[in-house]
């Protein structure tokens, strides 16, 4: 075997083993199992929300929130699902918490602003048909 080919193979082997070592170390420092499970639930819930299955989405985001209670993205998703299923008081609390955890997030801020408009209109309520 020519020495140049042998040299190239050895270099490739070294590179791959380095990559393997780094990947293993990356896995070791990656989020815990709970965080990974929360991320899976969040992604699945987001897909369900996209398809309009809000009950299923809410169930997934609730599970995700139990696994990662301080994840602002999960709390935002939970708030949206609560809003869609009519649990407005819970949605308000979840939006507020999400913004506490990530105050600069434009998407959470925008969601919250739009929700606040709807929530205020809802709170004003109807005029009584029979005046007191």
């Amino acid at each position: 075997m020519p020495s140049s080919v042998r040299h190239r193979r050895r270099a490739l082997a070294t590179g791959l083993s380095a990559a393997l070592v780094l990947c293993v170390s990356a896995c070791a420092s990656s989020p815990s199992d709970a965080a990974r499970a929360a991320a899976d639930q969040k992604a699945y819930g987001a897909r369900m929300a996209g398809d309009g299955f809000w009950r299923e989405a809410l169930f997934r985001f609730e599970r995700a929130a139990r696994l990662a209670p301080d994840d602002p993205e999960i709390l935002n998703n939970l708030a949206v699902a609560c809003e869609a299923t009519g649990e407005t008081a819970r949605a308000l609390a979840a939006y507020k918490r999400a913004l506490e955890l990530r105050p600069g997030d434009q998407k959470i801020k925008r969601n919250y602003a739009r929700f606040a408009e709807y929530y205020t209109a809802l709170q004003r309520g109807p005029q009584p048909a029979v005046p007191k």
């Binding site: 490739l12 590179g15 780094l22 990947c23 935002n76 009519g86 959470i108 925008r110 809802l122 029979v130």
Partner: protein, 234 residues
């Protein structure tokens, strides 16, 4: 070669670690319920009393076709039909001899005894009245239009005369309690449409305005839904 492999490994590592941070978001559509503006159970007996017609009260000159249009009757017929069809309320026929006690909206709102008496007479829980206005205006005029010359292929602007008619419909709905005669609610709805020709049919224009306002007006009595967009993170 060795350096390339190491670089590849570092890129792989960074991609693996950045994964969660790069997770995107998507915009989702949701339908939010809107409560009716009037706290009704939805099964009340409702009756539509005459409406004031603004053009009859003012000195405004109207086209003959608009003058011929019985705006009060047409509007009440349309609204009554929509309430009967899209709500569970029972629409009670209003006797033809009922005359409003005043030609002023404010005075109508204060005529508690009249509404109480009328409510008892027709047996309605809720009475509707108010003021309607319908205007047909010639909106023809010159407008700037962009065109591409066939000679040199360049874009130019030209003034063109566009014939169009504007239809404006405005109604102030006032709801009264049929038992006490008290005013429950008042709200104004307005819609404007423009048709791209000078001689457009007034009746068609009126109903296009009414179709546009239908959901808003029925929102006084029934739960409606509104579409909204939100972001969810993947």
């Amino acid at each position: 070669m060795r350096r390339t492999s190491a670089l590849l490994a570092v890129v792989l590592l960074l991609a693996a670690q950045a994964g969660p941070a790069l997770a995107g978001s998507r915009e989702v559509r949701l339908r939010l319920p809107l409560r009716p503006k009037l706290a009704v159970t939805g099964r009340e007996r409702i009756s539509l009393a005459p409406f004031l017609v603004a053009s009859r009260l003012s000195e405004r000159k109207e086209a003959q076709q608009v003058k011929d249009l019985d705006l009060d009757t047409e509007f009440r017929r349309y609204l009554g039909k929509q309430i009967a069809r899209r709500t569970k309320m029972n629409v009670v026929t209003m006797p033809a001899d009922v005359k409003l006690p005043s030609t002023e909206l404010k005075a109508l709102g204060d005529a508690t005894d009249f509404w109480k008496e009328l409510g008892a007479r027709v047996g309605a829980d809720v009475l509707l009245s108010g003021i309607v206005d319908f205007k047909v205006e010639d909106k023809s005029g010159y407008k700037t239009e962009e065109y591409v010359s066939r000679v040199d292929g360049r874009t130019y602007y030209r003034q063109v005369f566009v014939e169009s008619t504007g239809f404006t419909f405005e109604v102030t709905l006032v709801a009264f309690d049929g038992r006490t005669g008290a005013k429950l609610f008042q709200e104004t709805f307005k819609d404007q449409k423009e048709k791209n020709r000078r001689v457009a049919d007034e009746m068609v224009g009126l109903f296009e305005n009414l179709f546009s306002l239908e959901n808003q007006m029925l929102g006084l009595f029934v739960v409606r839904e509104r579409e909204a967009n939100r972001y969810v993170f993947d």
